[in-house]
Symmetry: none
Subunit: 400 residues, 2 copies
């Protein structure tokens, strides 16, 4: 309800907003009373900026909920993440940088092995090497079905993504994976009327795959998680922004595309390369989302020191953004990934908003403790964009 | 909406949660800038625990609302208290430890006096002594109505509880109490179809009572607040917990039973006896609710020093819980009861959550001021359980 109201208040302006997302930024100390990863890192640039910024903590989904990066990003982008669900098939396609369109139904595929009797003997075909499954994907790409475009994309090991493109396809389908060995793969059924044709296509794909793969090491495939890309209100429409995304990994590029951002090509894979892309396109857009993955990778693998180093690497790049004189800077994460938990967690996420119009809290350092005392308080992540837009002079007064 | 979503995310685990409710915990200083009851109390154990915990303040119902213990408890137990109303009759039955079932309709009863013309002369029969009303209850227990079980329970002074047990009874009834003297008691009317039989039963009870009591000091009764026990989602179902409740007073035992807790017998009535019960059953359950009444009793009677002493008594028992090594500890209240107000109040309630996964705030002391600076912020009381369950490893990640 607030979302709909807010969108009516948005007005255009000649200002630039930069949103820097350190994936899994929030952390935990290794012992009670100790310092988190962010508090341990030596971050002179972040600290100086924090002192002149408003700080707070965000809740991505709700109290107690650890979130995946998909819903976590939708939330920090300003959406109710429980309203727009991104299905598993869509995530798989995003992950390999496939540009899902509105006519696409995506599914997650597994190469598997079946016996002569058709009974599953290995749901993952021994987790066959990616090099091998990439060759098998080439075989699947020869499948043709009338009136439909098919895309098969290798993922990793036994996994691939299948995308079926045709107008008006439903995605409410049962799955062919029985989830246990010793049973035959299941026929796929439509769960609603618009999905009947999709079910027929999926079963036809499976029948052709069985014939084509019969002499291969992995001689069958399983399909599950059928999903369309959710239709999400677009940034240019709702926030009157001309937005660009800078991210290396497919999934983040995909979520950015979902909300209507132009996804820029990065020449290289380092954070420095991402900042170079930012500098190069600075004049062309008025909103930049920049995604930094390493903080989450280290958090999930339990590498406390690695996460500290990743944050320090980020700090070293920060002056390059500030030299561009953005009107509003947001620095936060999509969720917490404390190294001590080796996983995403429910803990609120540090947030910094800088502009010449914020009430700067004057707090020392950018860390979880300082953010807990910040004037932005503990807020739903989707309230960040309204505050950023206001600081950018992009929100009209309500009422007289 | 979040509640329904959250329940789908709950998973089982081998962890134990202890929720300690100091009734009416929140207080007020006696003069501006002074210390509240909790801040005045000498609480070395609470203070040491607080330093390694996350602190915050809870809002039981909503801003500005002082709540009774029934809705206050539903809220801290994780429910929307405006969704599940506990009617006055049900509260009266709970208060005397009556085990209300799904077929029961409960009403609050008053002994009263009427003149020969049937006109009310005293709605409370001079607040007759409990000893006397207990004898009158014995007379009412002789009333028989076909096809119905009746229970009459003494409460205090002129009050009693009536419980009517039969399948499919409605509880939408008008009241017989005209709320003023100088009028006759009213006939009871059904306000919906399923309550027609209940209305007939209630009027028949009143007719028989009038005959039986005609020569007594209190020669009539009034009935009001007809209510069934609300059907509330059960802890084992929604939170996958095997929960136990430790409480002395009937009302708290009743609310705990309402949400699906096993109510344990306490051998004695002191807080030490309650902790002994906790120790005795520690291995049998994975969630414990322990209720401490004295803080509220002192608050409501305006006894500031008594409330301070009650908190110190609690502090002395706390090490007995910590010795059991619970995975998660919640210490809070169901509402505030500042001694200076001699009543329940709307003030947010101090909250402490301890586990090895919390971000410990390192704040000095457990009190209203420290809690106002805590990282848990100012939150609806019903968000406490989600956070506690997350800390107990009992919530699945959402999305990928």
């Amino acid at each position: 309800m607030f979302d709909a109201f807010f969108r009516k208040q948005v007005i255009p302006a000649e200002t630039r907003i930069a949103m820097l997302i350190l994936d899994g930024l929030g952390g935990l100390a290794r012992e009670p009373g100790g310092r988190t990863e962010l508090e341990t890192a030596h971050t002179p640039n972040l600290d100086a900026l924090a002192k002149q910024s408003a700080l707070g903590l965000t809740i991505p989904i709700g109290p107690g909920i650890a979130t995946g990066s998909g819903p976590g990003h939708l939330s920090i982008f300003g959406y109710d993440p429980l309203e727009y669900e991104i299905g598993r098939g869509a995530l798989e396609a995003l992950g390999v940088d496939f540009e899902l369109g509105p006519d696409d139904v995506a599914a997650r595929g597994n190469f598997c092995t079946i016996g002569q009797d058709g009974i599953l003997t290995d749901r993952r075909a021994g987790r066959l090497p990616t090099s091998e499954s990439t060759c098998l994907v080439e075989i699947l790409r020869t499948i043709k079905i009338d009136g439909v475009e098919l895309f098969v994309e290798p993922v990793k090991e036994h996994r691939f993504a299948l995308i079926v493109r045709a107008p008006d396809l439903g995605a409410a389908l049962s799955e062919s994976d029985p989830l246990v060995t010793g049973a035959a793969p299941l026929e796929i059924h439509a769960l609603d009327e618009p999905s009947r044709r999709t079910a027929w296509i999926a079963n036809e794909f499976l029948a052709q795959a069985r014939v084509l793969l019969q002499n291969q090491s992995a001689n069958m495939v399983l399909l599950r998680g059928f999903a369309k890309f959710p239709v999400v209100p677009q940034y240019p429409d709702i926030f009157k922004l001309h937005p660009a995304a800078i991210a290396i990994n497919g999934m983040y590029r995909g979520v950015a595309r979902l909300v209507g951002m132009d996804v820029l090509e990065v020449d290289g894979t380092s954070l420095a390369d991402e900042f170079t892309t930012l500098e190069k396109h600075w004049q062309e857009y008025d909103f930049f989302y920049l995604h930094y993955k390493k903080t989450d990778t280290c958090g999930e693998s339990g590498d406390f020191d690695g996460k500290v180093a990743a944050i320090e690497e980020f700090d070293a790049q920060l002056p390059r953004l500030m030299a561009l004189q953005p009107d509003v800077v947001i620095i936060t994460g999509d969720h917490s990934s404390p190294a001590v938990l080796k996983s995403h967690s429910w803990h609120p996420v540090p947030l910094l908003i800088h502009s010449k119009h914020v009430r700067s809290d004057g707090l020392e350092g950018f860390g979880e403790s300082a953010c807990a005392r910040g004037s932005l308080g503990l807020m739903p992540a989707r309230h960040v964009m309204p505050i950023a837009l206001a600081n950018a002079g992009r929100v009209a007064k309500y009422g007289a």
